[in-house]
């Protein structure tokens, strides 16, 4: 059946035999009925049901409509840059209103009466130009890693010259450059175990700081500030340089893809970076003698801002004001951190007067509450629990 506007009825009547031959496929027609009782309008639009059927019609507008066979009680539609939506199916038919016209469905799951998935159709891969700003993300990260490598060369040089004070300053420069990238050592960090080896703590290692598996920035920190051993720092810096070299050699284009899958990996970072800072840095847990945790926090804030900048075009239609509010709260974090310095020097978190420390905690806590919904606004490939 094909639906026509009233003016076309006559044409159809005349061309009916021809139409029957041309339009052999099935279609779904949606009738929108509106207006008041005196001037009701009825608009019918039809779209062909493509074969093989995936149950989801591709339309350019919202609502999206689809068909599902008998036994399918509800349907979950996944979007590339919008939360997944689950709706009930009535008489084999369902419709989904997407918040953003730009959100195209990229996958559909059929659910039976128990909420079990009976069919999973298509996947959420990179589609279209919405992901333009992210495509080159791995290029930026690659460039930033090269900068870290250069900073480490400077550090190694000053260790070699026996200049402890300068080495400490170099360490801070290199560490902050690393943290600016924002992928460090969290579980969601794409660099995985290598990220842990580069900037992890000694927690979880048998033997703690004495473990040979304790490497990276914090080991060098321990060498310089706590053990005051240039010899150990030289060896551990060489190890760190090797780790960063290994990281640079990884094809980041594969690891940090500008695709739906890649997006799902690291869009968790805006809130994760700061959650890691709250859990590990603001507790003093990752201070191995330098007392520069608050400097690290400023680098973390910078990394969050960079990611928010990339995500803003996608986030703003979904959650108007979120990015702006987060930005203001991140400013408050920096302002609170600025007040902790004494004569331009960093004070360790554990040495701060309580009120100064609490002001930093308050600012970070507020920002975290704002950043928390971001993964769910954006995740498309995460699991969605079936209807309860």
């Amino acid at each position: 059946m094909r639906c026509l506007y009233a003016s076309q009825v006559q044409i159809e009547h005349d061309l009916l035999p021809l139409l029957r031959r041309d339009y052999a496929q099935r279609a779904v027609c949606v009738a929108e009925v509106g207006g008041d009782n005196r001037a009701a309008t009825r608009i019918e639009t039809c779209a062909p049901l493509p074969a093989p059927s995936d149950g989801m019609l591709r339309t350019k507008a919202t609502p999206l409509v689809g068909l599902a066979p008998d036994g399918v009680v509800s349907v979950t539609a996944r979007f590339l840059a919008a939360p997944a939506r689950t709706v009930r199916v009535h008489h084999n038919f369902y419709e989904i209103v997407a918040r953003s016209l730009a959100a195209k469905p990229c996958g559909v799951e059929w659910l039976d009466a128990s909420g079990n998935i009976t069919r999973s159709i298509a996947g959420c891969d990179y589609q279209g130009a919405e992901l333009g700003p992210f495509v080159n993300y791995h290029v930026d990260v690659g460039r930033d890693l090269v900068a870290v490598r250069a900073d480490l060369r400077t550090l190694a040089g000053d260790i070699g010259s026996g200049n402890l004070a300068q080495a400490e300053s170099d360490w801070l420069t290199a560490h902050l450059a690393w943290l600016d990238i924002g992928q460090d050592d969290g579980a969601y960090g794409v660099f995985g175990e290598l990220g842990d080896e580069i900037d992890g703590t000694a927690a979880g290692l048998v033997g703690g700081t004495a473990s040979p598996q304790f490497t990276g920035f914090h080991k060098v920190e321990l060498d310089l500030w706590t053990d005051r051993s240039l010899a150990a720092a030289a060896a551990d810096t060489a190890t760190l340089q090797q780790l960063v070299k290994t990281l640079i050699a990884i094809p980041l284009g594969t690891e940090l893809v500008g695709s739906g899958a890649g997006l799902a990996n690291w869009v968790l970072r805006p809130h994760e970076i700061l959650e890691d800072a709250m859990r590990d840095t603001l507790t003093g847990n990752d201070d191995y003698g330098s007392g520069t945790g608050l400097a690290s926090l400023t680098a973390d804030v910078s990394a969050v801002r960079q990611l928010l900048g990339l995500l803003a075009p996608v986030l703003n239609p979904l959650a108007p004001g979120l990015v702006a509010r987060a930005d203001g709260q991140l400013n408050a974090v920096i302002a609170a951190v600025d007040q902790t310095q004494v004569n331009g020097a960093w004070v360790a978190v554990s040495d701060l007067p309580p009120l100064a420390r609490q002001r930093v905690d308050a600012a970070v806590g507020a920002a975290l509450e704002t950043l928390a919904p971001i993964p769910d606004l954006l995740t498309s490939t995460g699991n969605v629990a079936p209807l309860t």
Binding site: S114, G115, N116, I117, S350, L368, A385
Partner: protein, 429 residues
């Protein structure tokens, strides 16, 4: 006015006893009489009605749990709401002193779990009892479970090295742990459980008073179990019911294969009737958790928060058949409950028996609430069961929200059989 404490001691004994006696009924009647005939100017001096906590009802104390038996109490009996986990280091310097300490510990546990009137030591001694539970000590479901760490067996002063249970070691760090030395390990763990917190603390205080020379507290954590809300199993600080799936240890067939050391267990004979006891202090980052969407919480754990039902099922008693979901589309392969217990034939003998408690203990340096789980489990074989479980959990999605910071591996000694037996007597034979 400075009153030298010693002046009280030089007053006549009779007067001192009189003061003690007034703690009972006569004092209350005296106060009542005053109120009846008071003048307006006495109202500021008068007291209001006796205050009591709204909910606490002394007559609601739990019945006694038998102390003697082949196995210690406090393991298979249902966990009461209050617990003190206390780890001691042994300061006794000889085998004889250690035995003396264990005998004293046995006598105190025997009295406290049975309840009764504390002995009157007379007017000169400090009272034998702290009095915090009143004049008669109620049993209130008290259990005192004694477990030994590897360090006790390894201490050359006691000559117990060749009697150490074969799988007992010091607990070392798993990759996601952050063990703090000051709250890790230890010679003796006491798990003290009771219906009310004051009962448990009273017992700890009594035991410590009697054993000061022989052992000293290294660290301690108080725990609680919440009421069921609204039913099912009590919830942990993540808001999820915790401890739903536990082996049926009331079935002797199950208990002899999963819980108790038997003569088939390849363990020293003295250890039969005991069990391995794992205690881990697991910090939970609840502020972080409270910022995570419910869907993500549920898929990390593998259960619905409201009902406790496994994902893919409708009620808390349903069991989801993992074989019908090999790709983990309904119950993710990395869900906590799926990793911990894959529910296959191959893993069925690695099940552990859990008896955990929540803890709540101040704040950390970042101002976040220091709350978490006192993870507590019993099993026949530490390696085959707990270590296998925990190894399966390495790197699970939930690791971001928790941090094991302390605790240890211990061995819960066999039960005290009768009035002439004492904790771990056969270990010293």
């Amino acid at each position: 006015m400075n009153v030298d404490r010693r002046q009280f001691l030089t007053r006549t004994g009779a007067a001192a006893v009189g003061v003690a006696g007034a703690l009972g009924a006569p004092g209350i009647a005296e106060a009542g009489a005053q109120r009846g005939g008071q003048k307006a100017s006495d109202r500021l001096q008068a007291d209001g009605d006796l205050q009591k906590a709204v909910v606490n009802d002394p007559s609601a104390r739990l019945p006694a749990v038998p102390f003697h038996g082949r196995h210690q109490a406090g393991i298979v009996n249902p966990p009461p709401p209050a617990a003190c986990f206390v780890v001691f280091n042994v300061t006794a310097s000889t085998r004889g002193e250690l035995i003396g300490t264990l005998q004293t510990l046995t006598e105190r546990a025997r009295f406290l779990t049975h309840g009764g009137v504390p002995v009157d030591l007379g007017p000169v001694s400090p009272p034998s009892d702290s009095g915090t539970l009143g004049t008669v000590v109620p049993p209130d479901g008290l259990t005192v479970t004694v477990s030994f760490g590897a360090s006790l067996f390894d201490n050359p002063a006691f000559g117990l090295a060749d009697k150490k249970p074969n799988r007992l070691t010091e607990m070392t760090s798993f990759p996601n742990d952050n063990l703090q030395p000051s709250i890790t390990g230890g010679d003796i763990l006491l798990q003290i459980c009771a219906g009310q917190p004051d009962t448990a603390i009273h017992a700890l205080r009594d035991i410590a008073k009697h054993t000061r020379a022989g052992m000293q507290i290294a660290y301690r954590m108080d725990g609680f179990q919440a009421p069921q809300r609204p039913n099912g199993v009590p919830r942990n600080h993540f808001g999820h019911m915790d401890g739903i799936a536990n082996p049926n240890v009331t079935d002797p067939y199950v208990a002899d294969r999963l819980l108790w050391i038997t003569d088939k267990s390849n363990e020293p004979a003295w250890a039969r009737g005991g069990t391995y006891h794992v205690f881990r202090i697991i910090r939970m980052f609840i502020e972080f958790w409270d910022r995570v969407a419910l869907n993500e919480q549920q898929t990390m754990i593998g259960r619905f928060r409201a009902s406790g039902a496994m994902l893919g099922t409708k009620s808390i008693t349903d069991v989801f058949d993992f074989s019908k979901d090999p790709q983990g589309k309904i119950m993710p392969l990395t869900a906590h409950i799926r990793l911990s217990n894959p529910r296959t034939k191959a893993t069925e003998n690695s099940r552990i028996f859990r008896r955990g408690y929540n803890y709540d203990n101040g704040i950390d340096l970042a101002g976040n609430l220091n709350m978490g789980l006192l993870f507590n489990c019993f099993q026949q074989d530490l390696v085959r069961q707990f270590v296998a479980n925990q190894t399966r959990l390495i790197g699970e999605p939930m690791v971001d929200y928790i941090s094991p910071v302390g605790g240890g591996y211990f061995f819960a000694v066999p039960g005290v059989q009768n009035a002439s037996d004492w904790f771990a007597r056969r270990l010293f034979e």
